[in-house]
Amino acid sequence: MSAPRGRDAAAFRIADQLAGREPWEVFGERIRRFEIHLSGNSVEMTRGPIAIEGYDIRVFRPRDGALGVGSQASNDFSAEGIRAALEDAERAARYARFPAHRFDLPSGRGATGGIVEVLDRGLWEYPMDSLENYVAALRTAFEGRSGYTLSFGSVRATLIETSICNSDGLRTGYGHTQVELEVAVKAFGGPEGPPPGEYWLNDSDRRLRPDDVPRRADDWCRFADDVRRGSLAPTGEMPVVLPPAVLAGILPTVCGGRLTGSARLHGIALAPGVKVASEMVTVHDDGRLPWAPMSSPVDDEGVPQRKRLLIDHGAVSEVLYDSLYAGAFDTHSTGSAFRGLSSGMRTWYRFLQPPEVSPSTIVVSPGDGGSDAELVERVKEGVWIQEIGWSSPDPVSGSFGGEIRLGYRIRNGKLTDPIRGGTVGGFVFGPAESPSLLNRLQAIGSKSAVVESVSSPPILVGALPIGGER
């Protein structure tokens, strides 16, 4: 089953009872979740099914040249429960005010948006078996591996039927899977060496790939060993290479903060045409990238997702909108309404939170920087940042930065000693005289990787401030 069908989908069951209260929208989810938690190499706990079914009703009430928008989430499907949720939404709408000049809900019947690969069929059909297979692969990968252990880990799989209806006749839905992997790998080394080092991975994906575990386990062990051996970063402004895993912690938040209709309404958006980055930078937002965590056929208002050009050769191109913010600026939604983002961590059940305007997957176009090794060859003295503890991006100022959890010194065009500790930071957008990630860009690698909500090659920034040894 890849999409909720018939009248039993969560949103469809509510929609039938809202006639006469137009305009309205219902977002529904039916969720099954399964988890296996490991302590060391042993199973500590199995969880599931975690069964949630719920919906959010949004109503839109024109008033004095503006819109009163009210919403209420609930898991009560009784007639009384639906009535109570609707009353709450209506009451919120009476007091709320959104400065939209017009408002267009997406319309149409049947599935819209075509097919986007976001559902792992094996996981969907056999969730607990799939999780157990994955955990077996994980445990096997560490059996007999001298000097490395699993400290703990968890694999959590969520199977979701999303359904969306509105009073303009939209009835759509799709099934999708989400996987969260947390693994901490410890490297011991020799008795005379430094204390154990740990590589701690938090990853999200759309599918379980047990065949990848042995290869990934090799990487995790290497990183854990480098964490163990790493020494404090040097101090100074110097060339820095940032791989996609680091950019994933920075770009979505800052682009969401400055390149959306929400930012425009708040007066902090970067205007189309404004130069914000080096000429070599072209950035898209792609809501249809296969298997990306934020990809889907339609956004959370039912508008088909698509590829959108955000930065064209260094200049702002398009700004993202949902239906509400599009209405405020007399334009159209770009299919960029997403729920479950307001806590700062994306929640696995989304119906509890109203939609916000957000990028889907930020795609940085590959450049001519070549392979990772060729990118590094351009640097005489600098740093490769493998991981920042928390890059703490600020959506308003566009600043980012944090502790270097793992990096490597670059000397004469080669990666050398591992780095552990110290800080790196700057601004994403900003004038070239400031430590701006995109304006001080010197090269973009040629090969992209998708990590969380970013698809990008590594990038070489001419100079960022590194705080480290005396």
């Binding site: 099914p49 898991n75 429960g81 901490a184």
Partner: protein
């Protein structure tokens, strides 16, 4: 919607039936209610917490713990959960009881309120938000100010097969003012927050001078210098001190990290790790604090646990499993984000106890360095013993005087080195607790609070 009494009989009977199949079973039910309003002069929005109730059953099996969660507390939904647990017990019957002591506490507690929050209607909340907004209207260079006023009541009922019954109702109330300043495309913001566990009286703490000060700081940040980078004397403001305590001794003292063999602190239990002036506490029973609880989600009463006493690492935070494994007692720190999330050992209100110095004395003692102000967040490193915290802004200290404003920065360092370098703590007059949230890894957010006084030490800092 938050009330749970209508479901108690069904929950009780489900536990009683499952108790015939396993040595131990427990259930936690939850319901929430509340309201949040945001206002920025042009836009007003309302959001109530979801009208959602649910329960999680946890049972001891032959292969460890198993859990099933459901949304809804009606009889068929609870029966579905009970059946799922029964199926697991059929395949993996438990022969021995689980490790640790099962709570048999009987607790019935609710947030005391001078002025009940439920009387605070939509219109009145919007009026308050507009009034607060007016405090900063017309401030120079302030492009926009968002005011958020909210309350959320979280009702939880815990029952287990050892006869525990713990019912608690917690109400968290908060006002947040966020002015955004803008000039030549550069945007900066600051936050002024007032919150705690209580009733509407919490919001009486919102003061015009606090909001205006935040607006002034946002504006000043537009012209702030870049922060220094490298090792410096650092004077942490109360909120940054709190993040330090939380990320270092908070996460490092969560005893599940001991069991996982990933706490750098475990071998140091009982050892001196810092100066005599340093005492760090986790206190879930702190009345009115943002993360106050009456009991945890295993039915153990909240308590004050001293983690570091006069420089000596004395205690850790426990749930039943870690207490059993390490020969300790549960400390009331087993917490779930909600009934759909698992329980972990979690902090509550974690803080550094005040010292005796004044702010001015600490600035003089530092002589040269940087003040980190306005804690934004941080991240722990239990295995490596490092810590990262981020501050929204700061000031330079030059020749024993506070000088230029600098923009946001991160602090990085080895916790034990940082502790050894502590040279002073300011007094009770500066003590503050914040109203934050904390994840376990990157998931399971729950209300959390951290704080302390000004703290002087040294660490690596850099732009962030």
């Amino acid at each position: 919607m938050g009330e749970l009494s209508d479901a108690e009989d069904d929950l009780y009977h489900a536990v009683a039936r499952l108790a015939q199949r396993t040595p131990f079973v427990e259930v936690l039910a939850e319901g929430v209610s509340g309201l949040s309003v945001r206002y920025n002069g042009r836009l007003a929005s309302y959001q109530g917490p979801p009208r959602i109730r649910g329960a999680v059953f946890r049972a001891w099996t032959g292969g460890g713990w198993t859990e099933v969660s459901v949304s809804g507390l009606d009889a068929p939904t609870l029966r579905f959960a009970e059946s799922a647990i029964e199926r697991t017990l059929t395949h993996r019957p438990a022969r021995e009881p689980p490790p640790g002591v099962s709570s048999s506490a009987r607790i019935e507690a609710a947030t005391p309120m001078t002025r009940p929050i439920r009387d605070f209607g939509e219109e009145e909340m919007l009026t308050m938000a507009r009034d607060v907004h007016a405090w900063v209207e017309g401030s120079p260079d302030i492009h926009e100010t968002e005011v958020q006023v909210s309350w959320r009541q979280d009702d939880r009922l815990y029952l287990n097969s050892a006869a525990a019954r713990c019912s608690q109702s917690l109400c968290r109330v908060r006002g947040i003012v966020t002015p955004v300043a803008m000039e030549n495309g550069r945007a900066e913001s600051d936050r002024y927050v007032c919150g705690g566990v209580g009733g509407r009286e919490i919001l009486d703490g919102l003061r015009p001078e606090g909001a205006r000060k935040a607006a002034e700081k946002a504006r000043a940040l537009l012209g702030a210098k870049a922060p220094p980078f490298g090792r410096r004397n650092v004077l942490l403001s109360p909120s940054v001190t709190g993040y330090f305590a939380h990320e270092s001794f908070g996460h490092g003292a969560e005893a599940d990290q001991f069991i996982r063999g990933r706490s750098y602190l475990q071998p140091l239990l009982g050892s001196v790790v810092g100066p005599e002036i340093l005492t760090i506490v986790d206190n879930g029973a702190y009345a009115g604090a943002w993360s106050q609880i009456f009991c945890d989600d295993e039915g153990n009463p909240a308590q004050r646990t001293i983690l570091v006493e006069r420089g000596r690492f004395t205690g850790a935070l426990h749930d039943r499993a870690t207490a059993a494994a390490l020969g300790a007692s549960p400390t009331g720190n087993a917490r779930r984000s909600d009934v759909f999330s698992r329980s972990f050992v979690r902090m509550t209100n974690t803080y550094v106890e005040p010292g005796e110095a004044t702010f001015e004395e600490l600035v003089r003692e530092a002589h040269d360095g940087v003040i980190l102000e306005g804690g934004v967040g941080g991240i722990e490193d239990p295995q490596g013993g490092q810590v990262q915290v981020k501050a929204r802004m700061g000031h330079l200290i030059e020749n024993g005087k506070v000088t230029d404003l600098v923009s946001s920065m991160a602090l990085s360092g080895k916790v034990l080195e940082f502790l050894r370098a502590i040279r002073g703590l300011s007094g009770q007059q500066d003590f503050e607790l914040d109203t934050g949230s904390c994840g376990k890894g990157r998931t399971d957010l729950l209300p959390n609070s951290a704080g302390g006084p000004y703290l002087l030490s040294s660490a690596v800092v850099g732009q962030a």
